[in-house]
């Protein structure tokens, strides 16, 4: 099993969700996060003074998949979240040791 974490531009959420649904993803978790990468921050102006805001709002998606489906899910994210401009985000893939469904106690791929 793999855990996929994707940092994406907030306005891309719906497109990414639809793309994931099309490849059969059954569930995902979304969090509002802030951070910076090469895009750096942005400028805000209050009462004529400029403020450099370092941390840009992004969304973090967490998805768990089987090993065989991983590449398909990653491709779905890449294609749907890409605008081509700086700040599109990143995808991280981790090996995942165990998944347990709390309601039934099922473990492993059955719990996905």
């Amino acid at each position: 099993m793999r855990k996929i974490e994707a940092i994406i531009k907030p306005f891309k959420l719906d497109e990414v969700k639809e793309a994931l649904r099309r490849v059969g993803v059954q569930g995902l978790t979304v969090s509002e996060v802030r951070g910076f990468g090469r895009q750096r921050g942005h400028k805000e102006v209050y009462r004529g003074a400029e403020y450099e805001v370092d941390f840009v709002p992004k969304l973090k998606l967490e998805i768990v998949t089987s090993e065989t489906q991983t590449e398909e899910v990653v491709e779905a994210i890449l294609n749907s979240a890409r605008t081509g401009s700086i700040g599109d985000g990143k995808v991280f893939v981790y090996p995942l040791e165990e998944v347990i469904r709390i309601r039934t106690g099922e473990r492993g791929p059955d719990a996905l």
């Binding site: 102006v45 209050y46 009462r47 004529g48 003074a49 450099e52």
Partner: protein, 409 residues
Amino acid sequence: MGSVSAGDTGFVLLSSALVMFMTPGVAFFYAGMVRSKNVLNTIMLSFAVLGTVSVLWSLVGYSLAFGPDWGGMIGNLSWVGLAGVEQTPNADYAGTIPHLAFAVFQGMFAAITPALITGALVDRVRFKPFLAFVVLWSLLVYSPVAHWVWGAGGWIRAVGALDFAGGTVVHVNAAAAALAGALVLGKRRGLGTEELVPHNLPITVLGAAMLWFGWFGFNAGSALSANGLAASAFVVTNLAAAAAAVAWMGLEWLHRGQPTTLGAATGCVAGLVAITPASGFVSPMPALVIGSLAGAICYGAVILKWRLGYDDALDVVGVHGAGGVVGALLTGVFSSTLVNPAGADGLLFGHPERVLAQLVAVVAPLAFSFVCSYLLFSLVDTFWGLRVSHEEEETGLDLTQHNEVGYNI
């Protein structure tokens, strides 16, 4: 002793309620501009002032400000506890409304003034010493200055200076105290290195709207009568606020490329401050000039703060100080006896010396307030420590001063 007019009394009581609503307006105006961890404390500073000063005003403050004159400097103590302040009019102040109505109307002014000061103190002032300061300041600074300008026998009133609704008593006075407070407290931690940006501008705009609304009571109500002068003051108040909001918006658009909501909200307040002393003496077109100039000058003053090095966090000096001075001086330029026969003609009507009288009326309260406020802030700082600890400042004042948080989400 005159008889009570139903129309005038109704108007002044309603105006008092409008002015009362301005103090929560200040609270919201300021609260949106601080960080979320300090939102309740910022509101509380104003709200506690409204309570504290209202009580104090009935006990001693009103008597010191408006009681029988003592040497042109202060009222005596014969009206302590509102003794002798009756349902019948007092001809020295307002011949057609109950003396009680005049006292409560003035009490609302006394309450909002220390609330204005809090904009310079937010994010770092300890609550208890702050309250002690407010008690001392209200009695030792506000009441005397109100007496000088408005009290029967007050020396600035005798000089012939014009301050219709409190440009100097309220705004210049508060700004001078705010500057003193900012100097004694020092800068907010993280200034220049962290993002000290507003957390909720919608409530700031709500506060500005409450101020604009309440200001009709502040200025038109200062006619103390439901008459033509009140209508005139109402109209010029609206025009100055509008012109200043537009001026600030336009200037920021040129300077920074975009008009901002905070700019429009701040601009209207700057215009309201500037028209306050002039509102009972000028006609509508001068009000547009006063408002536009106030918007532009306050925009400059707010930016200048960064060069001067003090941390007046929410620009009390830049908006209420600069706006108050501009308004007081321009009152001396545009005032006309055609608007108010009880007023005086200004520079444009052949009396350049009027501007000089206005300058005196600004400088004296400004200097008095700054010096006394600096001493009072230093005094409470020595006894109780005016500033929160490093850790408390990082944690936030809502939790450390009040054991609560503004947003539980």
